[in-house]
């Protein structure tokens, strides 16, 4: 298929439809409005349904209902809206339902701003909802990946019966890039024989539920969920290792910031400083194993994020297991890190550890 020039937000919506998503429930919030707008235009034409819910809380609960009915369903929002969806995400995880949730992050806390940010890392990877649950989180770095991983997210959600998050930011949502809608590789997926589609008098009623009043039963559910999350940690980790071979300093950056960091790496190379990058594509499960690839030449690590003080840096510390000193460079509030500033921070750090 030929490449088309598309805005990130529209590309996500188109990818979802391509992946078989026919139901979308959302509530407007900048900078992701093109997603519900696209869905409202396209879904009615192909036998699907779009509902502009009265709130994010209602939207995610509509997703819960539709996912329970066995269809492919998606919602999208941006930071404060995703915060409201956390209740539903916990219920969806507890009821083991598949769905895809897109967060085009903006700055916070609170109402914050409308510009790009990566300050929902904790919320995405730790869960803002209650209970022992995990959501797989994809962090695409360009519009093509946004398309590819949105499509993949539907299969992964169905396979594990778990919500999958696509974590972008205002920048990737608003940027235009050429994309190709490739046929996704076929995955063997289980039947949705648990869905509430009406018994037709032919089977016992199906129940979608996250309530377990019996403590032992709830622990059993948590054990079952943990096994699922362990399987994800074994099979679903994705990352990119860039110019790691003889790096003196290794950056860790994801999404749009990873691209800026690559520019910083080029600037450092001009000065004869070797820098590399580990780019987590899945934020949860975090690519701990990528850290085994860090060469002996490396003297320091540096987490680069659009966050004040850093959030992913906590996972970097876990993955590093105390081996190398860890630095941080970040901007927040919608401010975007500049390659030169990242390079300067790296030089300063290297100076300190030499």
């Amino acid at each position: 298929m030929a490449k088309v020039l598309m805005k990130g937000n529209e590309a996500v919506a188109a990818a979802a439809i391509k992946a078989g998503c026919r139901y979308f429930f959302g509530y407007p919030i900048t900078p992701q409005n093109e997603i519900p707008e696209y869905m409202s235009k396209e879904l009615p034409l192909i036998g699907g349904s779009f509902v502009q819910a009265e709130s994010e809380i209602a939207a995610i609960n509509m997703v819960y209902g539709a996912a329970g009915a066995g269809v492919r369903v998606m919602t999208s929002s941006s930071s404060p809206g995703i915060a409201l969806k956390q209740e539903g995400i916990s219920y969806i995880a507890g009821a083991e339902l598949p769905c895809v949730i897109v967060n085009m992050m903006r700055g916070g806390p609170g109402l914050g701003g409308i510009q790009s940010s990566q300050s929902d890392y904790f919320q995405a990877t730790r869960g803002g909802g209650n209970g022992d649950y995990r959501t797989l989180v994809y962090a695409p770095a360009n519009v093509q990946e946004l398309v590819d991983y949105t499509m993949k997210a539907f299969d992964i959600a169905d396979y594990y019966r778990n919500p999958v998050l696509v974590l972008g930011d205002g920048m990737i949502g608003q940027m235009m890039e050429p994309v190709e809608f490739k046929e996704p590789e076929k995955m063997e997926l289980p039947e949705k024989d648990w869905a509430t589609t009406g018994t037709k008098g032919k089977r016992k009623p199906n129940i979608i539920n996250s309530l377990r009043l019996d403590a032992a039963e709830l622990e059993d559910l948590n054990i079952k969920l943990e096994a699922k999350y362990t399987e994800m940690e074994e099979k679903e980790v994705r990352y990119e290792a860039y110019k790691l071979e003889d790096a003196e300093i290794v950056f860790i950056a994801y999404g749009t910031v990873s691209r800026i960091t690559k520019n910083a790496i080029d600037l450092l190379a001009e000065e004869g400083i070797k820098a590399g990058l580990i780019r987590p594509i899945t934020l949860w499960p975090f690519p701990n194993k990528a850290f085994a690839e860090i060469p002996a030449t490396a003297k320091a690590l540096m987490s680069v994020e659009m966050s004040q003080g850093g959030q992913m840096i906590d996972d970097v510390k876990i993955a590093n297991e105390g081996r190398l000193p860890i630095g941080f460079y970040g901007r927040s509030g919608g401010m975007v890190p500049a390659p030169k500033a990242i390079a300067e921070a790296a030089k300063e750090m290297l100076g300190g550890v030499k």
Binding site: V51, I57, Y64, G65, G68, Y91, I207
Partner: protein, 248 residues
């Protein structure tokens, strides 16, 4: 021997957990009978609330989904939009529907969502131990209104049916009670109409059922029925407020 009375197919074998004298059981039963009589059990998906009827998913003999507190109308919307040919209903208490889930019920009605809601109004939070509900009567004591509901502090009890009846998308709105055999029959009739309203695609339908909570009212079941008749009925008058077969 002729069979004059038997258990409805609309309910499973599971025993109800409700307190003695609680009318949740009667409301379950008549709702189940209606689903059986309409022949739609195999095509029905029910949504249970959070509240004393949280386990309704174990009792109704059809596919069921358990919703978060107050969110049943949104969950039902998701189901109905995905499966427009199925019959979808929510079963909700007054804390669930009139407090935490007010936005969801108002907007499901507003969209004219083709679902049916059974709204059980017992003027109190039953499950959590008798706290004040938006429907608690002025002067009525609750664990969080130990001096009785004070209108100056908490407002007048919310008349949900009257409020929803002002919404265009609410096609069928009726308030019933299950205090006497005659009223139980009327309640069943209203519930049947509320499902027919959905099946005929006319829009959102709700039946508010005045119900008792002898446990948290601190009364015997018989006194509870009397209290309902003497206190709830005057404030929450029974009757139909919207009927799609009568209004054009």
């Amino acid at each position: 021997m002729a069979v004059v009375f038997k258990k409805t197919q609309g309910l499973t074998e599971k025993e109800f957990h409700y307190c003695p004298g609680c009318t949740h059981g009667i409301i379950h039963r008549i709702t189940a009978e209606v689903l059986e009589e309409l022949g739609v059990l195999g095509d029905t998906i029910g949504v249970a609330p959070v509240g004393c009827s949280v386990l309704a998913y174990d009792y109704f003999n059809c596919d069921m989904s358990e919703a978060a507190h107050g969110r049943a109308p949104a969950v039902a919307t998701g189901i109905k939009r995905s499966l427009p040919d199925k019959v979808v209903f929510t079963y909700q208490g007054d804390g669930d529907l009139a407090s935490i889930g007010t936005a969801e019920i108002v907007h499901a009605a507003h969209r004219g969502e083709k679902i049916t809601t059974i709204f059980v109004n017992n003027a109190i939070y039953g499950m959590t131990g008798g706290q004040m509900a938006p429907t608690t009567l002025v002067g009525q004591k609750a664990t969080t209104a130990p001096y009785g509901r004070d209108e100056a502090l908490c407002g007048q009890p919310l008349k949900v049916s009257e409020m929803l009846a002002t919404i265009h998308g609410a096609a069928f709105v009726e308030r019933v009670a299950v205090d006497t055999p005659a009223n139980v029959k009327k309640a069943k009739k209203a519930i049947k109409k509320a499902f027919e309203c959905q099946i005929e695609g006319k829009g959102f339908a709700i039946v508010e059922v005045l119900s008792t909570c002898p446990t948290n009212w601190g009364m015997t079941p018989v006194d509870g029925i009397k209290w309902l008749q003497e206190n709830m009925m005057p404030y929450y008058p029974l009757g139909n407020m919207r009927n799609p077969w009568e209004v054009e």
